[in-house]
């Protein structure tokens, strides 16, 4: 029973094996891809391992406090130069092995030519709030 964040990157991750941008897929391939993702989430709901899943828009910016009375600084929408998170899924599973297994399955989502994308997904364990008791 540990939570893991599966992170999908727009960029910043190593290149996928089947590395064709989505806008060059056929509409059917896009639909197949979406269906795969939804089916995957549905299956995790059934196994009781699903926690949350969200897609993120690409237009993020960095924001920083710039001193008393001043507006925060932003670095503008220079998204293309940054590591970008496309979305995440949070799972609650029994082991690290299970988390890796599920990430592997998610990475097999079909892309161009109906072939698996083999994209890299980042798997990050959540920090627990409190420690397990040990002497």
């Amino acid at each position: 029973m540990a939570k893991y964040l599966l992170l999908k990157h727009y960029r910043g991750a190593p290149a996928s094996v089947n590395d064709v941008p989505m806008d060059q897929w056929t509409p059917e391939e896009v639909s197949d891809h979406m269906r795969y993702m939804n089916d995957f989430a549905d299956r995790l709901k059934e196994t009781g391992e699903f926690v949350d899943s969200q897609a993120l828009a690409p237009g993020g910016s960095f924001v920083r406090y710039d001193g008393e009375g001043r507006p925060p600084v932003t670095d503008g929408p220079f998204a293309e130069t940054k590591d970008l998170i496309a979305g995440w899924m949070i799972i609650d599973v029994d082991s690290q092995e299970r988390a890796v297994e599920l990430a592997g399955e998610l990475s097999a989502a079909p892309g161009a030519g109906g072939k698996p994308i083999h994209e890299w997904l980042e798997v990050r364990p959540f920090m627990g709030a409190k420690p397990t008791i040990t002497e």
């Binding site: 029973m1 939570k3 709901k45 059934e46 196994t47 009781g48 391992e49 699903f50 926690v51 949350d52 609650d92 599973v93 029994d94 364990p125 920090m127 627990g128 709030a129 409190k130 420690p131 397990t132 008791i133 040990t134 002497e135």
Partner: protein, 382 residues
């Protein structure tokens, strides 16, 4: 209407139905119906034997549901042919339910969820909140668990060790910030109940261990929920009643001379609880108990903890020598090394190792604690 009474009766009523041959999910539905009926009827007409009343009503509901299901008529006939059992001691039934909920075919998280639901009588929503997952997720986890065990016949004893592991998992999850359900208290309640229906030294060993840990709960965290290590805890805040109870239970268990790992762990916790001040801790005896634990479990984590105890009993150098024997990828290995180097007076190495250990910590309280340790030593060295 006494809700506590209803909740305490639920598992044994459920267990009676399951033992009579009802499958798990159908039995639970029937018991829920009976509970609703009890809430409606009892205020005006309280039964003399609440459990007997619930069993009768739940069993009737179960049979009604079966009868309505024509496709299963044959199975229903089989059930009806089964002679109605006489009054059976409640104890056996509840015990069977514990075994069912901790069945080896279930994953740990499913076993935990099912135990809290069926034996603990918690609602799905309460369990979901305690584990910070959506209610729908927990509902699926529980219903899958029910399906998994629905074909299991309860004709022989299950494995006590598995049940204890499930209860200990619940206990260790018990520091959730969510106040809706206190899983620690729930684990203790269930273990008490188990200890009442089964005569096994490891069950009371686990109960003693939980009580002794729980006794220190108020002192384990500071005002900003920062971790307070054992040596620095305000011992005046330890719950002496729980400690007395835990030690009493442990002594009775140990007297039976069937040592197991929970008793040994509880013995270590008891030795800590015994010391009025940290300096008075009997580390030599603690090392001896760790020797027992190593013998019982062979666990590298136990050997790591033993190295700390050796460091206290025989000096930091001896502890570091023990540590050198162990795989340095073990969780908390770096933190232990940092601590022993500090005790040995090598503050530079200790500070660096504390910072390393903070980077490897698996939870926030521990990471923050280790970061503070590194910062403290670095400030002292300047």
């Amino acid at each position: 209407m006494n809700e506590t009474l209803l909740r305490s009766l639920t598992p044994s009523v459920l267990a009676v139905l399951v033992r009579r041959g009802a499958d798990f999910a159908a039995a639970e539905d029937a018991v829920q119906d009976a509970l609703v009926e009890a809430v409606r009827v009892w205020p005006a007409d309280p039964p003399r034997d609440p459990k007997g009343w619930l069993v009768t009503v739940a069993w009737r509901r179960f049979l009604d549901a079966r009868r309505a299901d024509t496709a299963r008529r044959r199975r229903e006939d089989l059930i009806e042919e089964e002679p109605a059992p006489g009054p059976a001691p409640a104890v056996d039934d509840t015990l069977q339910l514990y075994f069912l909920c901790a069945h080896p075919s279930l994953t740990p998280s499913s076993a935990v969820a099912l135990t809290l639901r069926a034996v603990g009588g918690l609602t799905t929503r309460q369990i979901a909140r305690a584990y910070l997952v959506p209610e729908a997720t927990m509902a699926q986890r529980i219903s899958r668990a029910k399906r998994t065990v629905s074909g299991v016949r309860l004709d022989r004893h299950g494995d006590v060790a598995t049940v204890l592991r499930v209860l200990y998992l619940v206990f260790n999850e018990g520091y959730s910030t969510d106040a809706d359900v206190d899983l620690t208290a729930e684990a203790i309640r269930l273990t008490r109940q188990l200890a009442a229906v089964i005569d096994h030294p490891e069950v009371v060993g686990l109960l003693a261990l939980m009580l002794l840990h729980h006794a220190r709960r108020a002192a384990r965290t500071g005002p900003d929920s920062a971790l307070v290590p054992l040596a620095e805890q305000d011992r005046g805040r330890w719950d002496t009643e729980l400690i007395t109870e835990g030690i009493g239970i442990l002594q009775t268990a140990l007297a039976r001379d069937r040592l197991g790992e929970f008793q040994a762990q509880a013995a270590i916790a008891a030795l800590h609880a015994d010391a009025q001040r940290a300096e008075e801790t009997d580390w030599v005896q603690i090392v001896e108990w760790y020797d027992e634990l190593v013998r019982l479990t062979g666990s590298p984590v136990v050997r790591l903890n033993r190295a700390v105890a050796v460091g206290e009993a025989d000096g930091a150098r001896a502890g570091l020598a023990e540590l050198a024997e162990l795989d340095d990828t073990l969780p908390r290995h770096t933190a232990v090394a940092a601590y022993l180097h500090e005790r040995d007076g090598d503050l530079g190495t200790a500070a660096r190792l504390y910072a390393d250990a903070a980077g490897k910590a698996a939870n926030l309280a521990e990471r923050d604690h280790l970061t503070r340790q590194a910062a403290r030593l670095n400030a002292r060295r300047q």
